[in-house]
């Protein structure tokens, strides 16, 4: 029990952010017309590529002087993260292009 209390107190800012973000996510998405479900899912998917920051931090401070499994995995983490971010945003943009084209008419 005491451990849980300590854990909560030590991480209270983070827990606050998590709790508020949950409500924020619900709020942001709840009034979306179904027209936009696919692009929104795709856009949200691109944002989940924020893991790329973790990849950069990890590979940034990794020891690259000798070849290691961790080095290879780190490089893959950055490549996969970038695929998620850039691919995700580009594909969302392409989907949304179609909505825009029509607006000019």
């Amino acid at each position: 029990m005491e451990q849980i209390l300590i854990y909560f107190y030590e991480n209270k800012e983070v827990i606050f952010i998590i709790a508020l973000s949950i409500f924020l996510g619900i709020e942001v998405i709840s009034n979306v017309p179904s027209v936009l479900h696919t692009p929104l899912m795709s856009g949200a998917n691109a944002i989940s590529g924020v893991i790329i920051i973790g990849g950069i931090i990890l590979l940034g401070h990794a020891d690259l002087s000798t070849f290691s499994l961790n080095m290879v995995l780190g490089i893959f983490a950055v490549i996969f993260g970038t695929l998620n971010v850039i691919g995700g945003f580009v594909v969302t943009d392409r989907m949304l292009d179609m909505f825009k084209k029509k607006k000019k008419k």
Binding site: I17, L36, H37, A46, I53, G54, N70, G81, N84
Partner: protein, 473 residues
């Protein structure tokens, strides 16, 4: 730039870095908010992308580890090369893919995000400076499940992977979940040396990989949209877990934002099909033999010229598009038909079922590509009251979303799912390749209805012929 500020014990660079994370988090929120309106959606996407770009650049230049070391030049170059490689590959795939393959692509990109989260967690676990073992292991499991699950969903949508469904898959999945829990508890509750720890984390990775595969495997194709949305939510949570390890607010906020938005989207989709999430996950659409013995009546075909006359002299026409329209790439011809009919004074609307196609909004995207104004796309609840006044309903490559068995046959596996009430309109024309069943594998009694006429063939060919037939009238 990097002067030390003794009052707070950090350098200006670190302050700027944190500030850029704040900015990125705000851009994510505004971006997602703007993305929920058709007019501002494109701008929203760019804003979110800007936030991401900003966070990536500042991290690369300003991040310091616990000992205060910045990212060295060599590491920086390796990172930039990896980013350029991933960026070019991602752009290439995203630009080249056909519109019909969009759902698969989202699933694929989601898999890469899950893989990245899993890899980061895997390596951080063996880092002695990392104190959040539980969060790291959860991130590893969730990221891995999101990866292998999304890859299976991708394979299924692409037609490369079939369904496996048997009672044992449910038990196997429960067993795998329990095994994951046991391994995590064992890893945390006892002291292990470094080698054992690493081995255990790899075992956990493998079990989670198998669980992801077996979790998606039995779920029927009709439920894939729900599954992708759920996996998307998981990827977000996995990214947030990694953010927890680094105490990185931008990662936590971005990840949780996607996690909760994805969860809500998943529930909205389940609601659209009138099913619970548990039901989707455990009770897969099996295409059980329900209702097969019912007297089916006869199928009646219609000739192109009859269809052309019928449509031209109607007042109200409703088109119900489905996956068949997407496969045949018939959205452009469909729009030609609409414009032709409107020039003859017929009122035409598209009725969009929330789960038509392979993703929510799939039809909207396709029809938008063909320049159909989105005011012409009417949602199910708005179109249904008007169905009895509709002269002709044209069903193009849709099946389950117009199956009246959902309304009156409790033995049907999709009983209770709201449908577009095509059967209430005065005439129904069904365009279909053949008498195959829908994605859920269930017989559709609408096709045997007295008011229904079938027009067999590829949707694009049929529509093209229909358009030229109407022009000749």
């Amino acid at each position: 730039m990097n002067t030390y500020i003794p009052q707070i014990g950090v350098t200006t660079g670190e302050v700027i870095l944190e500030f850029s994370y704040l900015l990125a988090a705000i851009l994510f929120i505004i971006g997602l908010k703007l993305m929920s309106h058709p007019e501002s959606a494109k701008k929203g996407n760019s804003w979110a992308a800007t936030g991401m770009g900003l966070a990536m650049i500042t991290t690369l230049f300003l991040h310091r580890d616990n000992s205060g070391t910045t990212i060295s030049l060599i590491n920086g170059i390796v990172i930039i090369v990896a980013i350029i490689f991933g960026g070019i590959l991602g752009t290439f795939i995203a630009k080249r893919i056909k519109m019909t393959a969009m759902p698969q692509l989202v699933s694929f990109f989601n898999a890469t995000g899950g893989a990245a989260s899993a890899l980061v967690a895997l390596m951080e676990y063996s880092n002695p400076a990392n104190e959040s073992s539980l969060v790291t292991l959860l991130g590893l499991v969730i990221g891995t499940v999101a990866f292998s699950g999304s890859m299976i969903a991708y394979g299924k949508l692409d037609g490369k992977v079939g369904d496996i469904f048997a009672k044992w898959t449910t038990y196997l999945n429960l067993f795998l979940l329990a095994l994951i829990a046991v391994i995590i508890v064992y890893m945390l509750a006892f002291e292990h040396d470094m080698a054992t720890q690493t081995t255990l984390s790899y075992i956990l990775l493998v079990v989670a990989l198998i669980y992801g595969i077996m979790f998606v495997m039995p779920i029927g194709g009709a439920d894939m949209p729900v599954v992708i949305s759920l996996l998307n939510s998981l990827t977000g949570i996995a990214a947030a877990m990694a953010g927890f390890i680094y105490h990185n607010q931008a990662m936590i906020l971005g990840g949780i934002l996607v996690g909760s938005a994805g969860a809500i989207l998943t529930l909205l989709m389940c609601k659209a099909m009138n099913r619970s999430l548990i039901n989707v996950i455990i009770g897969a659409f099996g295409g059980g033999g329900a209702g097969v013995d019912k007297d089916q009546g006869a199928i009646k075909e219609i000739t192109l010229s009859d269809a052309a006359v019928l449509l031209t002299y109607s007042q109200k026409v409703v088109i119900v598009p489905g996956y068949g329209l997407a496969v045949a790439q018939a959205q452009f011809v469909a729009n030609d038909l609409v414009q032709l009919l409107e020039s003859k004074g017929v009122e035409v609307k598209f009725a969009i079922h929330p789960v038509a196609g392979r993703m929510p909004g799939h039809m909207n995207v396709l029809l938008a590509e063909a320049d159909v104004p989105y005011t012409k796309l009417v949602e199910m609840d708005d179109v249904n009251p008007d169905m009895p006044n509709t002269d002709v309903t044209i069903v193009i490559g849709a099946n389950d979303v117009v199956n009246p068995a959902t309304l009156d046959d409790p033995s049907s596996p999709i009983y209770g799912m709201p449908i577009i009430n095509a059967h209430e309109s005065k005439n129904i024309i069904v365009m279909k390749r053949g008498m195959g069943k829908g994605y859920a594998g269930i017989e559709n009694f609408l096709f045997f209805d007295d008011k229904t006429r079938m027009l067999f063939g590829n949707a694009k060919d049929s529509l093209q012929k229909l358009v030229s037939e109407i022009k000749e009238l």
